[in-house]
């Protein structure tokens, strides 16, 4: 029989205001096995933990139940406290009477009743707990960064500077990401390339950083500290070692009709190309879809003009398998597809563009060489209209339910830059709300209004109506003046919602990292563990976790790096002892469990057993506890009940069920 101590936390008034904590403690004493019960203001405080330790010593406790906040919050705290007092940490169970009780119920009597039941369930479970010993596993001291944008680059630099090896896997031919496409950055109006390229160069020159561009993660197996990753290096058709980056091939390439990804399809590029002038590595790739040689077998001009003999049409995709201790996801974002927003005439008129396209138009290396002009006829616009929240804050299935966060600021930036450079251009912004939390952000927006005379109208646009004369009639509402507005514009810019890179779902599935309905990766705790995935060893950097601007991305990238470094710095990791275990005497050897194990942790061995005097060799399931992650799939698949999960055993769960239904 266990000797159980029950500790009921007030959590200040968080619990005590709705749960009669002393009643819970009092009721606990009536439960089987409970020899001690008390309540205290803050169980997680040093004094609270001391109470637990004292009771363990004085009452010779063998098990602990803490009635407090969620185990996801303080289970580790209390387990460590128990361990320090000499108790096996796995003899501690938490009854969640805050998140699952006091915070959601208003009636004291009802909440107290429920808290008592939750306490009972925990006591019933602890009665069946057994001491568990975690195993150890090794840590591969290398990190993988998925995504080579500013988030990935910054994380890689920070980890590499701490002395660990880092590999970056980037899908496109160059690192740089979205930031490389931006012209200027808010709120300081720095040139984006000027602050990004030094970081790109630093990353590529860093001796601890290896960059795989034009590559994708193909498969991930293993677990924290010991991931095995297959990386597909797509055939570049250009030998990285031989190419000097002279650029002649791109000049001479006769196929120049492929839409430029870098310029958002606003102009074309050659079939052999580097996405932009400062690309890293400065080695082109051949777009085999566009290349005449690959399509018809004839051409081969690039090969002829290449002095270095770097062109290799025979190159094949290559799979590289590497081991990593930590993986950082930095897959970034894209703008949403506007097919479902045809009322804004995006597909009907070339003069309706997205803000990211405007970045390219404003950029000296862009399709108009930095001149603000209409893409339909090259004329300079006189009236520009910006429409905010295109696809953001939509609860229907056309758009995204969240605020994209960056649009208000970059629109103010665009408006300001246009008014600054082209004072005769009128700029009107239709907005729903202007959201500018951030240092110097609102000041920035106000400057656009006060100093640059940008016309902000509160109200959404209903329709953009192309006119026979080539102008765009913008039909919007002015909610403050209560009138409908018809404004003739030369160009319309849509602040298009951003969404996580569509590939991220595939990656999340490989990593078994959880992802929300909007395809943003979920953090382990919304406030306290914002850069970690709930899956150990996976860290989040940048927009893959939620919309953010550059400074926030860089800050998060650094935070993710620190978390990864914290992991890589360890020599050994404690493994979760809540693993499956098979009872040899009950095992049929039927292989059912093996079929459902996602980790290949179950194997079969012929073993001699002594079943009540009968000695025979049997085919038995054996669990490799280093591989087992403790999901429990096998325990339910097992017909005989031989397979059980430590820490969540059949009997423990049934005891909880019984206690709740009592």
């Amino acid at each position: 029989m266990q000797r159980i101590g029950v500790f009921v936390c007030h959590c200040g008034s968080n619990i005590a205001a709705t749960v009669d904590v002393s009643k819970v403690a009092e009721m606990a004493l009536m439960e089987p096995g409970v020899v001690h019960a008390e309540d205290y203001q803050y169980m997680c405080s040093e004094a609270g933990q001391a109470k637990i330790a004292d009771a363990i010593h004085e009452k010779k406790l063998t098990g602990i139940v803490v009635c407090s906040c969620s185990p996801r919050m303080h289970e580790a705290t209390f387990r460590k406290a128990a361990e320090r007092a000499g108790l096996n940490p796995y003899m501690v169970e938490i009854a969640n009477i805050r998140e699952h009780c006091s915070w959601i119920h208003k009636d004291m009597e009802e909440a107290t009743k429920k808290a008592v039941i939750l306490m009972r369930a925990a006591v019933a479970k602890v009665n069946l707990n057994t001491p568990l010993q975690p195993g150890e596993s090794r840590v591969t001291k290398r990190a993988l960064i998925i995504g080579g944008g500013i988030a990935g680059i910054q994380t890689a630099l920070d980890i590499a500077d701490a002395g660990y090896e880092v590999d970056i896997v980037e899908k496109t031919p160059s690192i740089g990401g979205r930031m490389s496409q931006l012209d200027k950055t808010f709120p300081t109006l720095d040139c984006s390339a000027c602050i990004l390229t030094p970081k790109m160069v630093e990353a590529s020159a860093h001796e601890k950083i290896k960059i795989y561009t034009y590559s994708e993660v193909e498969n991930v197996s293993g677990f924290v500290g010991d991931f095995t990753v297959d990386i597909r290096k797509k055939a570049r058709s250009v030998d990285m070692d031989k190419c000097t980056g002279c650029g002649v091939c791109q000049e001479k390439c006769p196929s120049k009709k492929a839409p430029s990804e870098f310029n958002r399809g606003l102009n074309n590029r050659s079939a052999i190309y580097t996405p932009f002038a400062q690309a890293i590595p400065n080695v082109p790739v051949i777009d085999r879809e566009a290349c005449i040689k690959f399509k018809t077998g004839k051409c081969g001009i690039c090969s002829k003009v290449c002095q270095a003999g770097a062109i290799d049409y025979e190159q094949k995709d290559e799979i590289i398998t590497e081991k990593y201790g930590a993986i950082v996801v930095a897959t970034g974002f894209d703008t949403i597809n506007l097919d479902k927003y045809d009322e804004y005439a995006y597909s009907q008129s070339k003069d309706v563009i997205t803000s990211l396209e405007l970045e390219r138009v404003m950029n000296a290396a862009g399709p108009t060489h930095g001149h603000l002009e209409r893409l339909s006829d090259g004329k300079a616009p006189k009236e520009m209209v910006f429409i905010q929240c295109v696809g953001s804050r939509c609860s229907d299935d056309r758009g995204k339910p969240y605020c994209s966060k960056i649009c208000c600021m970059y629109t103010a930036k665009h408006a300001m830059l246009i008014r600054d450079k082209y004072p005769d251009v009128n700029v009107t912004v239709f907005y729903i709300d202007v959201r500018t939390p951030g240092k110097n952000f609102d000041e920035f927006y106000r400057r656009a209004v006060e100093q640059y005379g940008v016309n902000y109208i509160k109200g959404q646009v209903g329709k953009v109506i192309p006119q026979p004369n080539g102008k765009l009639l913008v039909q919007g509402s002015d909610l403050l003046d209560n009138r409908q507005i018809l404004k003739e514009a030369d160009m319309v810019v849509l602040a298009t919602a951003i969404e996580p890179n569509p590939d991220v779902r595939k990656i999340a599935t490989m990593l078994t990292a959880s992802i929300d309905t909007n395809n943003f990766l979920t953090e382990a705790h919304a406030k306290l563990r914002p850069v970690e995935s709930p899956t150990a060893g996976i860290f989040l950097s940048g927009v893959c976790q939620g919309p953010k601007d550059i400074p926030e991305t860089v800050a998060q990238a650094g935070a993710a790096a620190v978390k990864a470094i914290g992991l890589l710095a360890k020599d050994k990791l404690m493994t979760n002892p809540c693993t499956a275990h098979s009872d040899e005497l009950l095992c049929n050897g039927c292989s059912t469990c093996e079929n459902v194990c996602p980790y290949g942790a179950i194997t079969y061995e012929d073993k001699e057993v002594n079943d009540h005097g009968i000695r025979e060799v049997r085919r038995l399931a054996v669990v490799n506890s280093a591989l087992c992650q403790g999901c429990g799939a096998c325990t339910v698949a097992c017909p005989s009940g031989a397979m059980d999960l430590q820490g969540f055993s059949n009997r423990q769960i049934i005891a909880e069920v019984d206690a709740i239904c009592r």
Binding site: R393, S395, R398, I432, Q460, S477, I485
Partner: protein
């Protein structure tokens, strides 16, 4: 429950619209072809329901100016469907008060030889019990 509240709830029930979903972006008003003819603008309908002032809504000219063209319904980013609120308010008028916007007496003078049947049928259904 006050009768005002009841009315507001009735209108929510008939329309199946939850006015609290509105984020006041004004896209409905920006889309409405009858905007200039309306005394209460499409984006204001939800406020009238939230403020339980159904009285003003059912007395408004807007009920009869709405084309039921569903432009607001189609484009609403919050799935509020202001057009349905107007329809519901119009229903309340024709149902409760037997108040009609169209009387049989005035029909002959509105007619012309080309008028399609559906216009008369729909006018009756829209305007009368």
């Amino acid at each position: 429950m006050s009768s005002k509240k009841k009315q507001a709830e009735l209108i929510e029930e008939i329309s199946g619209v939850n006015p609290l979903k509105c984020m006041k972006c004004g896209k409905c008003s920006a889309s409405c072809p009858s905007y200039n003819e309306m005394d209460i603008k499409p984006h204001q309908f939800v406020s009238y329901v939230i403020n339980e002032d159904v009285e003003s809504l059912v007395n408004s000219e807007s009920l009869w100016k709405c084309l039921s063209c569903f432009a607001c319904v189609e484009r609403c980013p919050r799935d509020v469907k202001p057009g349905k609120l107007i329809d519901a308010a119009r229903q309340m008028v024709v149902r409760q008060r037997n108040n009609t916007y169209l009387s049989p007496d005035e029909v002959p003078e509105l007619l012309d030889p080309e008028i399609p049947q559906q216009l008369l049928v729909s006018a009756y259904r829209r305007y009368r019990r």
